[in-house]
């Protein structure tokens, strides 16, 4: 008998905060510097140095708390997490333990057509460690401490997710949110946004959670999906074969698509946290929170709802357009030019045509050679029947290639220059149709004998005769009238 299994997933994310300097020192956080040139006396833990907290890092944590509706703690405390590793020169990481800076909060996610809320446990500030390089330095390891002391916000969820798809949807929503509020650049290749997934399985209906294994350092959404799917199958197979799951930390291997347990020392998890005597409690007064609240941008969830209500967009388009502030800004600028009545058409152009073209060229929306105003004019020309949607695609390609110049009205210039204006004069279209009918006697006969397919072929011929400049519906109507009339 096969039991039904339920998957339970919780996610911890380390988001690197977009500050200029480190969380406890004035060293730069810029990525890609030569080894150790951005590691100051505090970062390398020379004796006698003291940490001083960066206000900018706290700003980021407060903004996050506001964005997820969590409680920004009036008082939070930094603690030492003790362990020995060469890329952690102090022998402890400064983190927060009992009193984190943000408590609770939630994030709405979209899984297919379904919406779901993922609850957050907490978010706390901490410092990153350095990097160990294990290439062969005569049998030794090389240590680069540039990353040591980089501010991180660790964001922890409740075990609310029930599939890898939900886990990925959450990670994507969180990724979009931290970029949206400007607290993290979200660059996953550079390690600015790293996720750990706690995965367990239990028979459907069982109340207690199964034993979890933690998959560390997932730095792409695709790997997250693969790693969780593999891990779930492995856990189910292990239990069904009569085995049991032991709590462990595992790594995902992209080459094999599998997970493997890290060789961990038995004492590895005894971190002996205690409040760091070098740091006083962090006090955040309500005025500070209020000041940041007043400066918060409209959040993606609110904007999405506004797009649904004000513009009548589909849930899919509204989600796609609020995936980044750039996309949302582009869309709204285009609508401002094309008119609110054309919002749906604008949405389609931004989410499909523009997105597809950007993807093809490997460009971000900020680098699009077609400005929102240019696209707005193009959409306006579809709306006022100057051009058909098909011709608009041609004009768009010309705009993309910089024809028509940089002004908003570039589309008009292209339409004029290339003679793309739609033929709406039914007399002219009828003349062309008559010519097509005269030249296609065989197809006309087929249609009259009841073959509807022949009609479509005739429409194609007629559209070709107008060089695509006629309105297809108009051609359709006129053609049918002629054949039946």
């Amino acid at each position: 008998m096969t039991r039904q299994w339920e998957v339970v997933i919780g996610i911890e994310t380390h988001a690197q905060l977009s500050t200029q300097s480190k969380i406890f020192s004035g060293a730069s956080t810029a990525f890609g510097a030569p080894p150790n040139v951005q590691a100051c006396a505090v970062d390398i833990a020379l004796p006698g140095v003291l940490p001083v907290l960066n206000r900018g890092a706290v700003d980021c944590a407060i903004k996050f708390g506001l964005a997820v509706g969590g409680e920004v703690a009036a008082k939070s405390v930094f603690a030492r997490k003790n362990y020995f590793y060469p890329d952690l020169p102090k022998g402890y990481q400064i983190s927060q333990f009992e009193l984190p800076v943000v408590v609770g909060g939630q994030l709405g996610i979209q899984v297919g057509d379904r919406e779901k809320v993922v609850h957050l446990t907490r978010a706390h500030l901490e410092e990153d460690a350095g990097k160990s390089l294990h290439e062969d330095f005569h049998g030794k390891s090389g240590i680069d401490l540039n990353r040591a002391g980089t501010p991180l916000l660790e964001i922890v969820t409740e075990p609310d997710m029930r599939s890898s798809a939900e886990a990925v949807a959450y990670a994507k929503a969180l990724h979009a949110l931290v970029r949206w509020i400007g607290i993290c650049d979200g660059n996953m290749q550079e390690g600015s946004f790293r996720c750990d997934a706690n995965v367990s399985v239990r028979p459907v209906g069982q109340k207690e959670f199964g034993t979890r294994r933690e998959i560390k350092n997932l730095n792409s959404f695709r790997f997250m999906q693969q790693a969780i799917d593999y891990e779930v199958q492995w856990q189910i197979a292990t239990i069904e074969d009569g085995g049991s799951i032991e709590q462990a930390t595992v790594l995902f291997d992209p080459d094999t698509g599998g997970t493997r347990a890290m060789r961990s020392k038995e004492d590895a998890h005894d971190y002996r946290y205690f409040p760091d005597p070098d740091l006083l409690p962090l006090i955040i007064d309500s005025a500070w929170v209020a000041r940041l609240r007043a400066a918060m941008p409209e959040l993606p969830a609110a904007m999405r709802n506004r797009f649904l209500a004000d513009y009548g967009l589909s849930a899919y388009d509204a989600s796609a357009l609020t995936s980044s502030p750039e996309a949302a800004g582009y869309f709204e600028s285009a609508v401002a030019v094309a008119g609110k009545a054309s919002a749906k058409t604008c949405a389609n152009w931004v989410a499909v045509d523009l997105a597809g073209r950007l993807n093809k060229d490997g460009k971000g929306i900020g680098e699009a050679p077609v400005t929102p105003a240019q696209l707005g004019v193009l959409v306006a020309r579809i709306a006022d029947n100057t051009i058909s949607n098909n011709i608009a695609k041609k004009v768009f390609e010309s705009l993309w290639n910089g024809e028509g110049g940089g002004e908003a009205a570039a589309a008009d210039r292209i339409i004029e220059k290339q003679g793309l204006k739609q033929i709406t004069d039914s007399g002219a279209i009828e003349t062309l149709i008559d010519e097509v009918l005269a030249a296609s006697a065989a197809m006309v006969a087929e249609f009259k004998s009841g073959k509807e397919k022949a009609f479509n072929a005739l429409v194609g011929q007629a559209m070709k005769a107008t060089k695509g400049k006629a309105n297809p519906q108009q051609v359709n109507d006129l053609l049918r009238k002629k054949l039946l009339g």
Partner: protein, 95 residues
């Protein structure tokens, strides 16, 4: 509450402090003395008193988010036992 010799040795191991048998025994006596003192303190009624995170009743001072440090790698690495290509070299660690 009092510690066992085994616990003392484990704590010493976690903190990477080498302790001989005699030293562990002596540390055990000292630590248990401290724990006894704490036990005495715990007899005080602290209901409704918020736990202290620091001995001084002050708030954390903050610095502005500005880069104030310059590259002093050469000076720092001049006292390191071994460096190469700008990296600090340590006995090989790999998990």
């Amino acid at each position: 509450m009092s510690l066992t010799l085994e616990q003392v040795q484990r704590i010493a191991h976690l903190a990477r402090i080498e302790t001989g048998a005699a030293e562990a025994q002596s540390a055990l006596g000292h630590l248990n003395g401290i724990l006894a003192l704490i036990e005495e303190m715990q007899a005080v009624d602290t209901q409704g008193v918020a736990p202290m995170a620091h001995a001084q009743d002050l708030a954390q001072r903050l610095r502005e988010d500005r880069v104030t440090e310059t590259d002093r790698r050469a000076a720092f690495q001049s006292i390191a036992p071994e460096t190469e290509a700008g990296l600090y070299l340590v006995p090989r660690v790999i998990e």
